[in-house]
Subunit: 335 residues, 2 copies
């Protein structure tokens, strides 16, 4: 399994190994004939350049660390796909890892990535405290936060406009005739959640609606969280809302299940609006109307920003906010 090196090629071609390097790098200071000959020998010997040796001297691995909370999550896996694609187009590869929303784990992964000499890090933060916890590392490695709005923090991030997205959602329901809209989901979990809740509140204010929340003391996350909370909600006396605005599609999926079990029909008995537009939402029989986070664009902008930061050794930061759009399907009805 011993790999053939540049020296083996040099010997076979009867030149010095620096000449081989030049032949491969496309340098101009080499004669046409020798280049052709060397390239021929390389092919015959199945030579592949050793990227780690190159990285040593070039001081660049062309590797990017991608730290997610979990690829096993429809939003993140789709994002990961586009990120890989965008990275590949720019000549980078991705080292993937999962923090499982554990901040200690996240910090460890950061150290690991720095040790691996990645050129930059793409981070979907584990929680609202991530920025503070990671601050010591941020000066050591170009980093971009994805999906999370850091507000006034002096670090680069790209995020959808969560505030605006929530507004759009409320306005949509309002125009459908809904006046009693329940906001369903965490409110302090992350800046993302905070902003969505704030957007909801602002829109209610503007439209003269009274905001309604449901207590959110549950700690389990996502679909299960939605299911448990909704189950409890639906078993209370009479309902005072005609629509639910779920903070995430995964929550909405849980709500759907609870509704199903309680004999509530969506959208006939209850309108349901999500946020994220994960793949599952487009499924037959689900057809959740939702606010889209444009994942491909998110990935594109993230890579542009990060690569720019790497190549120009920028110490500044940029905040990129992408506008969300409503995807109308079949979970909300006019009343």
């Amino acid at each position: 399994m011993k790999n053939v090196t540049i020296k083996d090629v040099a010997k076979a071609a009867g030149v010095s190994y620096s000449t081989v390097s030049r032949a491969l790098s496309g340098s101009r200071e080499i004669s046409h004939d020798t280049r052709e000959r060397i390239l021929q020998v390389c092919k015959e010997m199945n030579y592949t350049v050793n990227t780690v040796a190159r990285s040593m001297v070039m001081k660049s691995t062309r590797l990017l660390g991608l730290i997610l909370t979990s690829v096993n999550n429809p939003f993140m896996s789709e994002l990961a796909y586009y990120i890989d694609q965008e990275a590949h187009m720019r000549g980078y590869n991705i080292i993937l890892c999962n923090s499982s929303r554990d901040m200690d784990q996240e910090r460890e992964l950061f150290e690991l990535m720095i040790g691996r000499q990645v050129d930059g890090i793409l981070l979907c933060p584990a929680g609202p405290g991530s920025y503070e916890r990671l601050r010591p590392y941020l000066s050591r490695i170009p980093t971009i936060f994805i999906g999370e709005n850091l507000r006034e923090v002096p670090e680069s991030y790209v995020s959808v406009d969560n505030f605006r997205g929530a507004q759009i959602g409320v306005e949509y329901l309002y125009n459908l005739g809904h006046r009693d809209i329940l906001y369903f989901g965490r409110r302090r979990n992350s800046t993302t959640h905070q902003l969505r809740a704030e957007g909801y509140a602002a829109a209610c204010e503007r439209l003269g609606l009274t905001p309604m929340y449901c207590n959110n003391t549950f700690s389990s996350t996502s679909i299960r969280y939605g299911y448990d909370l909704a189950k409890q909600l639906f078993s209370q006396q009479e309902r005072r809302f005609s629509a639910i605005f779920a903070a995430t599609d995964t929550n909405a999926l849980g709500i759907m299940q609870a509704a199903e079990e309680m004999g509530l029909q969506i959208p006939q008995d209850l309108s349901l609006l999500g946020f994220d537009n994960i793949r599952d939402s487009g499924l037959p029989r689900i057809e959740l109307t939702t606010i889209e986070q444009p994942k491909q664009l998110l990935a594109n902008v993230a890579l542009d920003t990060l690569v720019d930061k790497i190549q120009n050794e920028l110490s500044g930061y940029s905040h990129r906010i992408i506008s969300p759009a409503l995807i109308e399907r079949n979970s909300c009805r006019k009343i």
Copy 2:
């Protein structure tokens, strides 16, 4: 952003840099005092060992290449999650890439990974021809094929028992009273598909059923494929089957959508059985009964096998076949 090296630490601690290396590696041939002192200095200076330099001399990167057809696919993303987890537990990291079922792309990625000096490759092959196309590389890098049964091929793979899984499925439907079971899906697409079709045929034979297939000339894949084909199927005259056994859950999802549109109720009017148990299948309102591919186990076995191959420089191969299980939900009914 200049990183501090072992030499900087050595200087600060007043020792040679080999001593620092020994202090960090936990070698015994160093005095307790100097080790403590050096460790202290390392901490103060935020020293992190440069993994790529280490890789050079150790001739091991502790990186594994994971080549998927696409992370943006519920089965693969779940698999990727467990693979990362298992790899992490063994001190490896994952370089992720997507072949998009393109064999040229797949071959390129293989070369790329070899250049990056990964210690091994985990491959979800792009197609049935992958093995042949990649053969030249397989002697150069420890590789394990995942999810695909290579039959008599002398390369390591881990796969679920697709043949047996299909049998289990047919038997289940049979016991529910079904006698006219349509097999829905590709049959020559990959060994996986071939084996499922064969298992179906074998079970029919044993139970005295006549196998039924639907023509599969469509080329689009997965959910769309299922939808298109099912739509055509349902618009034909009368139906001669009471149940459909879909080759994959994604196909089944497409079938569901078509059924919905044509006013066919599942399971009342038609029983539907899937294969894979992707996350979506467990969703409320979907509740697809299906044959499970145990992803976590697949990942575990894949890493055991690969790491073993790497560490013991095994040139042999091992075929690991995992038994599938039926996950009963709500898409099949007794008749």
